[in-house]
Structures are given as C-alpha cells and as structure tokens.
Symmetry: D2
Subunit: 424 residues, 4 copies
C-alpha cells in the first residue's frame, strides 16, 4: 500500500557545495520561480501519472568540506549563468553546509577546512545522524533522502574484516577502524536511521556486506553507483546497437578531459582507479563477449572547467570481417547532465520508500554506471534499463497504461510559490 | 499454419551487379565454404530458433544495366578483398544478369547498355515475369523473393492517375504511361505473380495505391523502403536516447561523403531529392516535436569509393537551458553494412510468406529508413523496432522464450557443401 | 618619405551595425578602457616598431541597412558578452549608422529600411562621399579609411560594358546602370576621393578594370578580397605542410555551419556562389596540382548564432601510395576572428597611404581568401604571406632588424584615455 | 669542396627488421622496379638540383633482435600490401639482420633472441664495427651511414660519470658500465669509425657530452632526435599559425592510439617517459609562453596495428578573450610516414659528409621532434625549419636559385636497373 504523496522532500547531499548539488538546488529554485523549463529532467514526461513528489517541492541541504553558503559556492563553479544565479541567490545563500566527514587517506586532491573534528568514526556517525534529525524535523517525518555527491575516494580494502558483517562494522566504528571510509560513515548513518540512500559517486559504501545487511534489516531502499551522465551514457546506448547489428567491437578507446573539482579529485591515482573501475566492466556485459581493447582515460584539464569533453573511438568488424570506425565527440557539461539525474533519483527513492521497497532498487539502474542489484548481474543496456524504469514507475496504473512507448509529455508542475524556509 | 522450411531460397535482385548484391552473393559463397564468419548478420544470433532459411541455402540472381557476370562486377566495386573474391570467383562468375528495365527520365547518372529493348511497360512486365518464372523453376515453387537494390530514381508524380488504382495502373502498363517508373514495373511483376517484394532503395513502388491493392489481392508480403545502414541507423539509436534523457534537440546537421555508384546516382538532383526525402522525417517522429534545424547533405566524393563517411553534429539543450554538442563521425563501408541487411530481409520475407502474412511486414521496420506500414505511423526508434522484430521472429515459440534480451548466440549454420548450380 | 603617424584613424565601414564591425568597435573601446588585452590582434607583437596607428586611436563609423546605434546593434549579435558590452554601451550608443546603399538584386536575404532613397547610382556616390567628407572633417585630413563588411552579394556580370573602363563606369553611374553593384558604388566613392579601400567581403568591387584604373589614377592603396578567418585560414596553413611532406591531396571536403547574418545571406544561392568562388581556387594554387575532389559547403544553421563550425576531411596519399586521413573540426567564432583582422587591415592601409603606396597592397594577402595582386598570381600559403607581411611592415627599419622570426612581443599601447567624441 | 656524388649509399639501421626499415627497404626496391611513385618523399621535388644520392641507389642492412630476413619481417608488419611485397620479396629476403645489442634494463617490452652474446660493451662495440666494416667493403669507402630505428629505451641517467667525457665513456666501455645504453654503443661504434649517425628514436645517444666530443674529434655529421611524423608534425605546423594570428593557446590535449611494435614498447612506463619527453617542450618553445595545460598521451591499442591515430583538442583564446576550439584527428600510418623521412635523413647525412660538415646538422631539424643543435635552442616551427632545409640543400647553387618557394618538381630518378647484390 503506497504511503501518501507529500508535497515536499528534503535531499541531504554529501558535497552540497559542489557543482552538481548547487546546480540542482539553483535549478529547483528557478523552476519554483517559473524561470526555467524542465529540459534535461528525464521524468518530466511522466508528470502527474507517476506518484513522484513535484519538482517545486524539493529542498537541498547537506555536508561539505567548504563552509561557503550555496550561493557563494554556486558562483565559484560557473555552471549556472550569473544572471540566473542572481535571481535565486537569496534562496541559495540561506543554506549553509554542515561540517563534512573527511579522511585524506581516501581522497587526496580535494580537501577543505569545514570538517567534523570528531575523534572517532562512531562520533562522526552520531554527528551525521543529528544533522539528519534536525533536517527531518524541518521537512517532516519520512521526508528526507540522502544522496552522496562527494569527490571520488580511492578503492577501499574490500576484504577488510570490518566490512564483512554489520556486527563487525559497528565494532569498527567504535574502534575507529581506518577500513571504514567517509562514504561508509554517511551511508551507515543514513540507513541506520531509515533514510533512503542514493550513491551518485564511484565510492563503495552501500555495497559492502555490512551495509547490505543493515539496509535489509531496516527496510531501507538504496540505489547506486556512479551516475551515468556523459560518455558511459552514450556507451550504453551505442553498444547494444552494435550488438543488434552484429557489428563486433574490436576495440573501444574512450578519453575524457574535464577541469572541475571532480576532475581534480581524479588526478589522484587512487581516486582515478575507483572511477575507472565503474566504467570498465560495462562494455563486456552488454556485448556478451570480452572486448580485447577497452581503454578508458580521464585527464584533469583545467581550461574546460565544468565543460567536460569525451572522445570515443570504436573499431567494429562487420560482414566479411571488414573494419569500420565510429568516433563520438561529446562536448557536455558535467553538472548540467548530473544535476537532473540526482533530482530524479531522490524522487524515485522517496517513491520506493512510500511503496515499502527495500534494498537496491534495480529499476533505477538507468541512472548509474555500476548499478547495484539484489544479487544478479546488473543490466547496462540503456533502453532495457529505460523500459524497466518506466514499468516500475507506472506500477500502480500498469494494467491499463503500459506500452512500449514513453508516455506523452504532460504539463509541468511549475508552481510559482514562494521558496520554502532556508535550512540552517 | 507455417509452411515447411526449405533449405534454399532464391533472391532475385534489381541491380544484381551492384556493390551491395555482389557483396551479399560473395559473402554467402564464403559462408558456404566456411571461409568467413557471421559478423554483421543481425539475425545470426537467433539461428536455429527462428524458422529462417539457413544462410548457406541462399542464391542470388537478378537484373542489371551492366551485363558483366557477378565475379567481374564484384571486382570493379572493390568491396570484397581480392584474395577472398578469387576463392568464390568461379561460383560468382557463373551468374550473369538479366537485361534491366531502364528509363533515363528516372535515373540520369547511372546508365548501361544491358537493358530490355521492349517497346512498352506491359512487355517489360512480361519479360521480368518470365525471368522470375525461369528462376523459380530452378529454385522450386515458392522459393524466390525479389529485392530492389537499384540506383535511386527521382521522385515520381504521386498524383498521376495511373498510380491511383490497380485498374488504372494496368491500363497505364498497356498505354506505356511514363508515370510508371522502372521500380514500379519490377514491383508489379513480382507481386502480381506472388513473389514477396522488398525495397532497399528510396524508390517509390509498392507504396502507391495501385500496388497496395495488388499486394492485398494476391496475399503477398512486402517490405521497404530504403535500407537503414549508417547515418540514419545511428540517428535512430541516438535520438530516442536524447529524448529519454530530456535533452532537447535544437539542431542536427548530417553530412555524408561517398564515392560509389550509389553516390554517383545521388549527384543528380532528382535522385538526391528522393534520398533526402526518406532521411528527413525520421527525426521529428522519434522526438515528438519539430526540430528547427535538421539538415542532411550527401556529397559524391570519389576518393572514398565504397567507404562512406558520415559526420553529424547535434546541438542539444539540457537542464537550465544549457547547450551541449554531440558529434558523431562514422567511417563505414556502405555495401558491407547493406549486404547483410538485404540477406536478412529476404529470409524474413520468405518466413512471412510461409506464415501466410500479406502486405507491409511492419516487424521489418528496423531495416528501413522509411518503414512501410499497413496504415499507421511508422516506428523509427531503433530499439523499439528491434523488440518488435524479435517478438515477430519468435512468434511460434513466443510463450516460453520471449524476454527483453536478445537470445544467446547459437552455433552458425555454416555448411561446407559444394556451391549450388549457377543461375543462367 | 613616410608621412607622420597620427594618433587616430577613422574607419568608415559598410555594414557598421553587423557582428564584425560592432565587435571591432566594442573591442577598441574596451582596449581604450584597459579592460581587455590584445589577444587575437595579429600585429600586437610588433607594437612600437611598425609605424602603425595605435589601437586606442581607432574610431568606427559607417553605413548600415539597419538604423540602430552600435550599442543596440551589438546587443542583437550576442558576440560580446553582455557585461562587457555594458561597460562601453555609452560610447557605442553615440554612433548611429548612415543610410546604406542597397539593391535587392544583389543580396536577397539581408534587407533593411535604413537605406538611401536616391534615384541614381550617381546620387548614391555623392551621398556616400558627403558622409565621408563629414567623417574626415571630424577625424582630420588623411585620417579615414573605408572597409567593406557588407553581406555577400551575388556575383556581378563581369563582362558588363560599364565595368570595363573608368569612363564607361562613370557613364554607368549617370545612367544608373544595374551592372554597378552597391559594393562598387562604395568603392568608387571612396577611391575617387582618395580614401584607402579594404574589402573584407567576397563582393567584387575594386577588382573591376574601371576601379583599378581609378585607384592608379588617384594613387590610392586598396586591399581585398574576403577575409581569411576560419576554415580557409587553416587550409592555407595545412596544405603547404602536406606539400612539404609530399603527401598528395586526393580530396578535401570542407563543410561549414553558421547561424549569423552572414550565414543568412549565404542561404541565397547567388550570394553563396560568390562566397564559394573565393574559397575554391586556393587549394590547387598552393599544392601545384589540381585536386580532383575539392568540395566546399556552407549551411545556414541558426542554433549556432555567431559560433561558426567548420569540419574538414582531407584524404592524402603518402609513401607507396598508402592512404591517410586528416580531419579538422574548428569551433570558432566568426566575428571574434574577423574583427581584429579588420582592425589590422585598416591600420596597414593607413600606413600604405602614408608611405605613398597605391593599388593592391600585396603584403596584406595574409588577411584574405582571394588576395588582390597588381597583376601576378596571388600567394595563398599562409606562412609565405606572413613573411611578406613582416618584411613589408618592417621596411623602414629592415636592414638591421629583419630575421625569419616574428618580432618579440612589446608592451601594448593601451591608453586609458577618455573615449573620443562620438560620430554623428 | 664537395666530394663527388656516388650512385649508391648503404644505410645500416638499428632495428632493420622493424616496420619502418622494412617499409623503407621495400619502397626503395619498388622505386627501383618503377612500380611506385615518389609520393611521401619530401625531397623528391628537388631531384637533380640537390646533390643527393638517387633513391634507386640506396641499400638497407642492419641489426635486429629478430633474425628473420627482411621479406619475412615485412610480412609480419602488414604495412606494405601483400601483392606489392611479393614483387620485391626475393630482393628483401636476401638480407638478414646482424645480431643486435640488447639490454632488457633499457627496453622491457620488446625483446628477441637474435642478440650479440658478447660479455662487455667494449666487445659489443667491436662487433658492431666489424659489421659496419663488412658492409662498407661491399658498398665502397665512405658510402655507409647509420640510422637508429630501434624501440624506445628508458631515459638513461644523464648524470652518470661515464657519459660526461670521451675518456670516461671509453673507460665505461672497458668496464661494461651499465650507464651506457645500447643506443650509445651503436652511436659510439659508428661515429668512432667516421660513419654519419642519424637518430630517428627518442633514445639519448649522440647528445651526451662524451659522444659530442667524439663527433667533433672525428669530424662526423650527426642528426636527431625522434622522427617528426604525425601528431608533432601537425603541432609544429599549427602552433606557429595560432601565434601568427595571436590566438593564445590555453590548453592542448593530445592523445595517440597505435598498435605496432613501437606502441608495444611504449606500453612500458620507462620507454613512454622518453617518448613524452621529446614531445613535451615543443609547444612552449614555438609559442613563446608556457601553455598551462599541455597533455600528451600514448596508448597501445592493438586493433590498429600500424595505423596510428592521433586526436588533438586545442583551446585557444582570441579577441576579447573569447574561447574557441580546434580539434584535429589524424588517421595516419606510422611506418608510411616514417620510412620516407629515414630515407631523406640518410641522403642528407651523406651530403653533409661529402661537404665536410661535422656535428649536429641543424638544417635537418624539420625531420625531428627534438632537434639536436650545436648549442643554441632548437627551432621547432615547421615552416621555418623547411626554409632552413631548402637553403642548406641548395647551398651550392644558392646565389641564382634561392627563392622562398619550394623548387618545381623535376623528373623522378627511377632506374629500372636490377637490384644490387644482397647484404649478408
């Protein structure tokens, strides 16, 4: 039985001062003012028939290594054009980040001073939970979800004993075990208190046995890992097409240049390894065979700022073994692609909670590079993922509305209401 | 009730000496010898579960403006590498084209001397039908399909009285009405005698009211129009992906350079208009709105020969109205992409006939730029088309096997049998 | 003997309200305020050693089909960012265009209401000359040059009697001969009164026998034709490199998409033919042989505005006849590339006049797609042109300073003086 | 006083079985047979006026880690098309490599069994010199040059005492000092006996103080380092063009994919560092300022074999600080570009020896990524290098023939003589 739809939802984000979160927050304010349309929001087409909280009801808060308010932070990222940002500067400026959980061992190249000074991981958890409790008190019970948008951490030691069971993990928290990463601290804190948890980063958190156990125990929906925005999005569109036409992929060379904080984090080899990990397996899974030469490169290239660029070269073999090449050059904007996905993930996690679903919500795989599953192999092919999402979304009215086609666009839910009270 | 599967099928092609037909014919011979794999054949994955005639059972014959045997013709196109061509030169050399139906008013830039000298369209029909009867006598009753692979004709006068009904059309044949194009002569001849008819060219034929009437009357399956090989294939893969992510397409600039006989035909403005016609509407249909600036250009560029190249630039708008660009550069091989589709279309038309289906087989829309339908709007989105094709193909064993996934690959049906006797 | 250097120079431009002229005018004002550097100004490196008028001494006026002042016009073109434009809006807003000479027969797609209503070409000449006299009175004698930046006209009838001699041309003016284009009216008016005349458009004017005769008679320097900004600039850089490495160019396919007023003018086939004419011969001249397949396409593509994009594909043959490809994708900004060249051409024409040079100044060929010469074949190779320009520029101090190297950068001449009085 | 021109010249290459040397050798044989033209040979245009040995007089021999004869080796590289290779297989097959000097410490990923088993570097030198003496005996005195085409070694310890003077180096040879790399062994052996030495690899050899001293003492011409074939060639063409137009380079991202033996060597990080070293400084030197973000990447990508591909993205700033991008995609063939340069370097080194020139021949800088100089800064700008080469080449007849233009093409020197006797 579906719980009733609220008119509002709080999104507590790890990295709320980053380019993605500030863009999402600014975008929601602009939608609220009726100053921007719904371009780029994938679920805008199903408005009114999907049971999701309206866009204008969303509200952002969260943690950041930098203490600047969201208006100041947004200005530094140069993603939202200045004149638009000024229209919502007051609303954004009223939100200040909570001190972040940090550990330089996990992410070397992005640091800050606005951090928790707690002595142990256990105390950090408590602090995060008190932040969440305060936010929930403002938004209303059951009206908060947590989304991780932090910089990429190095890959943790997946065999560390502390990660293998909930009991061991909780002991690790008490003993301040370094095997527990900041991402895990946040994930534990959220799930333990029943907040749905979405992971837009490559950081390993909800996937460890200890936290799978916890999510199951608490009946909390989760989703992740690593938002599928630019290059991997196109890869999961194109690879199934090559397969459908029996064009055999001999090699796929992918390179990325980007100059924002995400790129800076990835210029550390530990973080880069995490990122490449979630990009790597996608291709073989979709094609059904091992591609001999799949190379993925990411370079920190400051001249571009947030304007990420991907260049892919694909060598395929067709009839009679003849060779062909496809080259794709995507001049995209990292945060512009990511922010609306974050918004949709939050809305869907809220829906899942109201439906009483728990554990990894596989229907959200379309939003992730390395989709979490309840056990089976993940689906990577984009259009198969989209079908699954549409079926899941329409589950309540499935019998009479489902078709293969995306639903026709409906009127947007733009409400010119005054902005909600700021989060402190 | 499905008619029994034959081990062989004759494919009578208009333009049998062209790059596509000779590549298909050479490929089938190489498959028969076990000298090439099944790369590029989209339905190789469903082998043994689909009711289609095996690849090694196919045999090519047909008409051409040039009288050279298929081995000589194949050599001039330089599509199949020389050393491979020589392995099958004897088999190909045994097949000589039948004289073609030609009318310079319909296609200026590609001409030849190997043409029917009949005085009237009625006599041309008779000649084509006698060619088909001879071929069927060799292959066996119900074992021949017709595929049009001829050069692009100019757009006919769709309002000409002779095209509006079967009775008027037959009068037009008798009166040698110039409104009846060569493509229509072939289509009439085939359908009237019950041969399934597939149209891989942009030429208008089975779509005219007169021939729709005829196909219905005779219960003959048809398919068309204009094979979807390179640029449009990728366009129908990408556009639905942009829609799914709510990235609004502001402009799509597509240019092509190619240097083969097809390119030469298109350097005539009349023929070019036909081709652009089938390329043009695709985009708006898939996106659900009118793209302000959709430009398609095709240039005859001889240095490339059969190695066609497409360059697309796509301007999209995402969240907050921010602009991004995607550029796709496809270095493809025209005949290498087209030949296996021709093979699959022929096999599917044969299956449709054995199933007793008549009129446009919409399940084959994945193979065409401008899919024929029984009346409704055509589906252009590639993955939706693929699902439809898979469901249609698996109709006999649908209940237990259908899933969203393409079936797992099976063993190829390569038979190292001696080649069949040549067609004279 | 060189005439003394003035501190100021007036540039009377045909099309002063267009994207190029308004960008140049805004840029000069920003330089005057010290708010922008000298990026993009090719001769900034020779400052102080070249005898050219300082950038801060330039002032723009001219004719336009649209009567809007330069600030309003600049806003519509969206080339200069808004916040920068506002810093100089007052200075620009004080300049209003003079009514333009127009003839729809010569340029169909760009029209306006702010036109001379004179009855004859003779009267138009008089009107233009009175505009120039007024401007010269403000700037000082010998301190005005004329630059044509108008939209592309169709190719005139080069064999028309009126163009063949000065006497015939002057008769044609009296008889209002339609063979005399608007571009010729401006060129005649300028040269007849001794104003140096530069032609940044593909329009034929100073090249006709009548005006060559006039320039010689009056001792006036001229320069043209068609500014070499984006694609052709790179073509004249790359082609000599391929020649130096003996890489034989088999084909060169060039396509352009642009969405500004220039692009709109070119969507008329007559104007397009003019443009393609100046782009066409360049390649063969540089390579020393005829390139079999040199294709140039230009498409009006509004989504881009002033952000022109060029895509070139070059097929070359190297050692042992092996094929290679070079593809160049230039995402440029039309007016940003053109404006500084216009500024340099004006400064150089002024220098030429002070040196007493007359007729086509070949040393300026580096700035043009179809360089005018005094009779011989034009030089197209970019680095050869650059050497010639540097030698010409340094002629006064040649003996001791000339080397193969461009001179070392010197301090810019930015002067934070108040803007000059506006032009009315 | 110029020594007389011989009709023949022996080229002893380090790595004679590699793709570059076998392509060069096959090409010379095909030229001798009149079966190929002179495409790709940069100095073919100056034939007959330049004092260089004719192409048909060249003959290849040398050392390799693999003992296969040149015909067998050429077949494995798949650079020269099979049918052409068979025409010259007998001539190539008669040449077998001499055992190579090898040290796995210097090049990990390319190894072989056909190596010298000498116990010390001194003995290796003696062996190389006896190989050279045997070859010279066949070709004639003063008719042999040495060219290094070996795989990329790691960067040596440039501060090692053994490299600092000739005396120390010779002691190091006696003591088998590991600071002396294989490339240095070859260079010492050649120069010490008076053979001109060209270095087409990034390996450090003739640049060390010890060998500079030796070359001066023996009066031997040298040239190097690292052949300028694809990406760097275009970089040195484009960067000076950006400078000439005052387009400021903010970032230049260069990536390469290649699948041949050279690529394999570079997949070792030590070798890669050497290669990137010679690619790195070029840009800043040409532009006259430090480019903040110049990134060069090289990936071993086997699907391509010898068909190297480079993709460059260049961010430039123009007038008013506006940003533009240039992207260059070069689908080249590594050995096809390199082989003719090797041929020209050998011919020029022979000319330098006959002219009595010694030490680094700076006029050959156009052929190298990191040109050796007699002391000053190297010139990287391609067209400046070309002018220097043309002046040097025409030095004998300079007074009357020199112009800025490359000389007009003359008749090729193809001689259909029988091939010279093979080298054993």
């Amino acid at each position: 039985m579906l719980k009733p739809l609220h008119e509002s939802l709080g999104i507590a984000t790890v990295g709320v001062g980053g380019g993605v979160a500030t863009t999402a927050a600014a975008g929601i304010e602009l939608i609220r003012l009726g100053e921007t349309g719904l371009d780029g929001l994938p679920l805008a087409e199903t408005l009114g028939r999907d049971g999701l909280v309206p866009y204008a009801g969303l509200r952002f808060a969260g943690w950041d290594l930098d203490g600047a308010d969201l208006a100041s932070a947004a200005r530094t990222h140069r993603v939202v054009p200045d004149e638009r940002l000024e229209r919502v500067a007051e609303a954004l400026g009223a939100t200040e980040p909570w001190p972040a959980v940090a550990d330089a061992e996990y992410c070397r190249n992005v640091t800050g001073e606005h951090i928790q000074r707690e002595n142990s991981r256990r105390a950090m958890v408590a602090r995060v939970q008190s932040d969440l409790a305060r936010f929930e008190a403002e938004m209303g019970a059951g009206r908060v979800v947590v989304i991780n948008l932090a910089s990429t951490e190095r890959v943790p030691d997946m065999d560390a004993p502390a990660l293998q069971s909930l009991a061991a993990f909780e002991r690790g928290l008490d003993e301040n075990d370094p095997a527990i990463s900041p991402a895990m601290v946040y994930a534990y804190a959220a799930i333990e208190r029943g907040f749905p948890y979405g992971n837009f980063t490559p950081n390993v958190a909800a996937e460890i046995p200890a936290l799978i156990e916890l999510a199951k125990e608490r009946g909390v929906p989760t989703a992740g890992r690593d938002g599928k925005t630019g290059q991997t999005f196109l890869k999961t569109v194109l690879a199934p097409a090559f397969r459908a036409r029996a064009l055999r992929v001999e090699g796929w060379y992918s390179t990325n240049i980007l100059g924002n904080r995400d790129g800076q984090a990835l210029s550390d080899s530990g973080s880069l390894a995490s990122k490449l990990g979630t990009k790597g397996d996608v291709l073989d899974d979709m094609l059904g065979y091992k591609v001999g030469d799949h190379i993925v490169q990411i370079s920190y290239y400051p001249p571009r700022g947030d304007e990420k660029e991907a260049w892919d070269n694909i060598d395929v073999t067709g009839f009679l073994g003849q060779r062909m090449q496809v080259k794709v050059n995507f001049l995209c904007r990292d945060s512009i692609l990511a922010a609306p996905l974050v918004i949709e993930i939050a809305r869907c996690l809220d829906l899942a909670r109201r439906r009483g679903e728990a554990g990894p919500i596989e229907a959200l795989s379309t939003f992730f590079k390395a989709p979490m599953t309840a056990g089976g192999a993940p689906e990577h092919a984009f259009f198969t993922q989209q079908r699954t999402l549409m079926r899941w979304l329409m589950a309540e009215n499935l019998d009479h509305v489902l078709s293969d086609e995306p639903a026709a666009p409906a009127k947007p839910d733009v409400v010119s209401a005054a902005p909600l009270a700021p989060v402190k």
